[in-house]
């Protein structure tokens, strides 16, 4: 079953200090040709891997999709239904940086079919925004939400980050308070991780980055769980919270180990059992599509064991965890049989719990997620 598409727009107007996504500084980039070529790629892709179902979720991410002009973005968005069959109730998300989209862009998006936004707020603290080199002001988040609603896009998510350099509990509480006071349906909150090839990585190696201790990070996470719950957000995944039914169906597709198309430079797809990574650098990607090739950098056929591993380490991210019935249906054996001893050990450690229907992380297990997930990797040799 393959009913999701991810489309990557690798341009940003300013580069954040923590960012190791595949992105390029917007100025002087061949944006128009890039859009033409992603549309080309859509065409080749469905030819090679025909749809199995109508598309139920689309996610246009980046980079910063809204760094495109209204015309450019429109061209991209309108190409999607030309090449793919969309379901009636498709969930269509676009990532938005506060300040980079206004009335006109939102109206166009709405008209093209977009019905969900993921707004990169990160923090409401002006100092912290500066420290991570985001170019918006806190008020612009509220402004963005207002304009989106006016344009008729109602399913709104806000992205937040914690564990930032010198981050205090007070700042974090304020950010959360301000976020829940908005008429939004969804919050994603990730802790900062320092990745190579970023400004923060450089700073860290020079000893110039003061990151919060694990204790504080854990406290921030615990506070968030409690606070968001009180505010009516349900933690349906480690880092994702929804009001009512507003779960991100696109992300659920990843966590449920379903397949998806990936379009654009550096995009990933999972089709017919293959995990594919596109060329990241623009010249490579573009050259390859121009030459009528699929822009694949690597193709990996997921083995049966890998599928089971992924089912577990992705699935356990969800509050509902991994369904035993589904696992058995997909892999013809029980979780215990596939991973002998693992669930028992993890239960003993207090990180995993079991109901008649499913396995899921305990609250402590959530905080130590990677330690748990690691146990579901078969030894490599």
């Amino acid at each position: 079953m393959r009913k999701s598409i991810y489309i990557h727009v690798p341009f940003c107007e300013q580069i954040c200090h923590y960012c190791d996504f595949n992105k390029f500084f917007l100025e002087n980039q061949p944006v128009d040709e890039y859009i033409d070529l992603t549309i080309e790629e859509m065409k080749h892709t469905v030819k090679k891997y025909p749809q199995t179902n109508a598309v139920e979720t689309i996610y246009v991410g980046g980079g910063t999709p809204t760094s495109l002009t209204t015309e450019q973005l429109q061209r991209l968005l309108e190409a999607v239904p030309k090449h793919f069959d969309l379901a009636e109730d498709v969930e269509w998300t676009v990532e938005v940086n506060p300040g980079s989209a206004g009335t006109e862009k939102f109206a166009m998006m709405r008209k093209a079919g977009v019905n969900r936004l993921s707004i990169g707020a990160q923090t409401f603290d002006p100092e912290l925004l500066k420290a991570i080199n985001r170019d918006h002001k806190p008020e612009q988040v509220e402004e963005t939400v207002r304009l989106a609603l006016e344009a008729g896009i109602q399913n709104l998510s806000v992205d937040l980050m914690f564990g930032l350099p010198d981050h205090t509990m007070e700042q974090w509480k304020n950010t959360l308070r301000r976020a829940v006071s908005l008429p939004i349906t969804h919050i994603s909150a990730y802790s900062l991780k320092i990745e190579p090839k970023t400004v923060f990585y450089q700073m860290m190696n020079k000893g110039k980055l003061k990151l919060p201790e694990q204790e504080l990070e854990a406290e921030m996470y615990a506070f968030m769980l409690k606070f968001l719950k009180e505010s009516g957000f349900d933690a349906y995944e480690i880092s994702n919270f929804a009001r009512g039914e507003a779960l991100s169906r696109h992300n659920l597709a990843y966590w449920n180990n379903d397949e998806y198309y990936g379009i654009g430079a550096g995009a990933h797809s999972y089709v017919e059992g293959l995990r594919i990574r596109n060329h990241g650098p623009l010249p490579k990607y573009m050259k390859s599509v121009r030459e009528k090739k699929l822009p694949y950098l690597e193709i990996h056929e997921v083995t049966f064991s890998e599928k089971m591993e992924e089912e577990m380490f992705m699935g356990l991210r969800k509050r509902l965890g991994v369904s035993k019935e589904r696992f058995e249906a997909r892999y013809g054996q029980t979780v215990q049989k596939a991973f002998p001893g693992v669930t028992e050990d993890l239960k003993k450690a207090g990180w995993l719990c079991e109901t008649p229907e499913r396995f899921m992380l305990t609250e402590e297990g959530i905080l130590l997620g990677n330690e748990v997930f690691e146990k579901f990797l078969f030894a490599s040799d």
């Binding site: 991410g61 905080l367 997620g369 990677n370």
Partner: protein, 608 residues
Amino acid sequence: MKPEDRINRRDRIRNFSIIAHIDHGKSTLADRILEKTSALTSREMQDQMLDAMDLERERGITIKLNAVQLLYKAEDGKEYIFHLIDTPGHVDFAYEVSRSLAACEGALLIVDAAQGIEAQTLANVYLALDNDLEILPVINKIDLPSAEPDRVRKEVEDVIGLPGEDCIPASAKAGIGIDEILEAVVKKVPAPSGDPEAPLKAMIFDSLYDPYRGVIVYIRIMEGTVKPGEKIKMMANDKQFEVQEIGVFTPKPVPKEELTVGDVGYMIASIKNVGDSQVGDTVTHAAKPTAEPMPGYRKLNPMVFCGLYPVDTNNYTDLREALEKLELNDSSLQFEAETSQALGFGFRCGFLGLLHMEIIQERIEREFGIDLITTAPSVIYEVTKTDGEVIEIDNPSEMPDAQQVDHVREPYVKAEVMVPNEYVGPVMELCQRKRGDYLDMKYLDENRVNIVYEIPLSEIVYDFFDALKSNTKGYASFDYELIGYKESNLVKMDILLNGEKVDALSIIVHRDSAYDRGKIIAEKLKNLIPRQQFEVPVQASIGQKIIARSTIKAMRKNVLAKCYGGDISRKRKLLEKQKEGKKRMKSVGNVEVPQEAFMSVLSMDENK
């Protein structure tokens, strides 16, 4: 070849080494000489061409000697055959130099025009004199703005006693003075003597192991001639082999029909067992052996010891093989099996110095793909027990209980530090702090001073070198020799993780510095050992007494960050890396300890 051709050829051979203090430009000069003489195209040419090991290229230093054959058309119109041996400059590899020199008749002594004579310059000059070599002084790097060729020329005259006017001013980098150097080699380095028709007498000055061809020995022919197909024997053990291939390095190995007097090259003779050929041994014909072997080399005794353990205990035999193969072309390396409660089976290894130790460790990891845990280096202590028995220990964990120890003696070295005037103060302060006894101080000229101290070897091993460098902005040069044992107030300090003593982390320290060292180590370990699922106390103790402590807090949080664009492979890689990382750690008690921790007791800068 006809006998008279061999004589004629012999007279056109010049064998020489390049010697100098570290970084004075030996390898760079070798590059220039290669360009002027050999068939290397400039495309084949790389900087420091003869530094073939990756490790040498990365660090920009020479570790192994390297021999090449070159052809040089001299001003007199004749073509000469040069055998050039580039050597390392660092004191730890002095052994390589002494072997190279034994294969030569002359040496180019490089002195940096800005730095002047340094400790290893002198040490190498004495080695060259011992080997009766013709020394040709070259003042290199005259292109540097800070070059002072005239001062250095005078230094050569005053300190070494070679005539100043013989010094050739040169710049290996800018290609100045290279022709003069080559002509001097032709005119001043004596041709080899020795009878090409006499019984074969060839000295093994190096060897290495090739998985396909067995041991490859590097030989210098002193007398006689050798050809493929001949039966030869090693004089040390009488083992016989048939020569399969002989040849020279250009620097690529090039097979030859014969090697004769004066040749420096290689020999392959299906020697499968690494123990069968020893560096310093003499090769001769099995049927018609030479009367006397060459005197061989003085084997240097290791001064620094540490434990080497495979991270993966299954690699124990691989590690033994790796050590055997390295020993083959580095006979100053010593090892014997040992066991540690914390680390399992491994080897106690002896090295000439710290750099030597580091290099061997790195070569094992790279060339043999074995992950290692290295314990802190130690020296050999001499312990007199209360019952009068005297024991030698090179591993702190063997130290008897304090009640059984009457007294402990430790090795001392005579350390000579050469520095510009203005650093005399800091150097003396450092030597005092390192428990040194002042011996002597001499002005070499108005500006340079030679300071002599007796210092415990363990302090040198610990961090003397780094401290010296940082206290003198790198201007000091330093050399040392072992002088014997002296009594010291030494105690064993243990480290406990989660209440459990970790034998591999024990060290022997002077009582006066035990508290400070204990504190530093406890702090270091706290930072190096990742958080575990529970809190882990780290303690340093002498006997029963805890003298320092720190705590590794329990892990509180470890979750994947943003799931971005469906990049599952990235998450997988992260988890795999995490899992792999744990495999590379040693489980001590129930604490996962990374490799670096075992070395951490070593690298500590008190000034920081």
